[in-house]
Symmetry: C2
Subunit: 229 residues, 2 copies
Amino acid sequence: MSRVLYELAAADPDRRFSPFCWRIRLALEHKGLAFDGRPWRFTERDALAFSGSDKVPVLVEDGRAIAESSAIAAHLEAAYPDRPSLFGGTAGLALTRFHVAWTDGVLHLALVPLLLLDIHRHLDDADRAYFRRSREARFGKPLEAVCPDPEAQLATLRRTLAPVRAVLRHQPFLGGDAPLYADHVVMGAFLWARGVSALALLEADDPVEEWRKRMLDRMGEGSRALTFG
Amino acid sequence: MSRVLYELAAADPDRRFSPFCWRIRLALEHKGLAFDGRPWRFTERDALAFSGSDKVPVLVEDGRAIAESSAIAAHLEAAYPDRPSLFGGTAGLALTRFHVAWTDGVLHLALVPLLLLDIHRHLDDADRAYFRRSREARFGKPLEAVCPDPEAQLATLRRTLAPVRAVLRHQPFLGGDAPLYADHVVMGAFLWARGVSALALLEADDPVEEWRKRMLDRMGEGSRALTFG
């Protein structure tokens, strides 16, 4: 079977930085499924037109396209039930929606101000203009004004991670003894950062940092080569 | 089997207001286990001495005491595997720790400023003095100064609930089609509020409010009688 994952990339095609694409890359590795990760840029709408989606991730298996990370994860779980589970059952799938909602709506919001300028710097020219225009509309101010105090924002980010930290004080992964999709979702945020920024987001003795390293250690060679750490 | 749940109570013994006790009351109902809910007050340490704990909830089954809500929930799941599951399996148990950590460390912190004075007002005299002393030490200011702007705090609470709201837009309960312990944990916060305050915490058309009503509708008669709604 041919399997292609379209992933958001910077000017350097090896620099992948979408947290939503990263969670699917980790989910594919979790399932032990080989795939071709294909770089895609914000302004390459035409290249995705076949899928009916205007953004990534898009997974294409034997010509069938599936867009949106939660839909792709649910598809992988249903299509490959004999591979290691991403959710640990129906209840786990339902419960994981909270980890996803919190990551998308809380964690990402705390992180993005720290990354905006680094993302902008790494994009190719066409994407750079698109990125500035769309993000300045979203934040209502110039990119350079979104994060006037990075140190305070870093403190906010670390405080935001408190519930993750509390769980990781009691078990090695959000999924328990081994990672589940919930881990991949939160790790996607850190891999997003790692793709564009050298900033140390966590203190060395933070249980979240220890977990982040455990997650990095479990990544496949091909994915590690894309992390720029 | 005799089964007693010690629950935090106000001067009126029917006014139960600990979110940690409520989640266990809901868990016992979920498992279909009959129990005697016994009111306990902050300053009645001696009455709990037998259990080795100085706070509630404490569950006593045939003379065996178990303290701390997460430990009690795990005990109920292990001891009554044939009753409806609280977690939906091992993965669900691990994943639910995030809902618990978020509720304890984020949701409760957004809610408590709105409730402090109401709690204080409902306590008996001995507990009232204890409560003021211990909470003023925790917040570093007089109870009356903790929430100078209740409207702003209410807006913060509603914003804090965003990830719960996002999940409940897609499924009727945090646990999926039916409540799991994760629902009981978040609902405990609302029952805590309901025990002492008449404040409308949510807008009528908020998916969280619709879920809260569904949760109330499922509660047993005995528990509904304790909610003062």
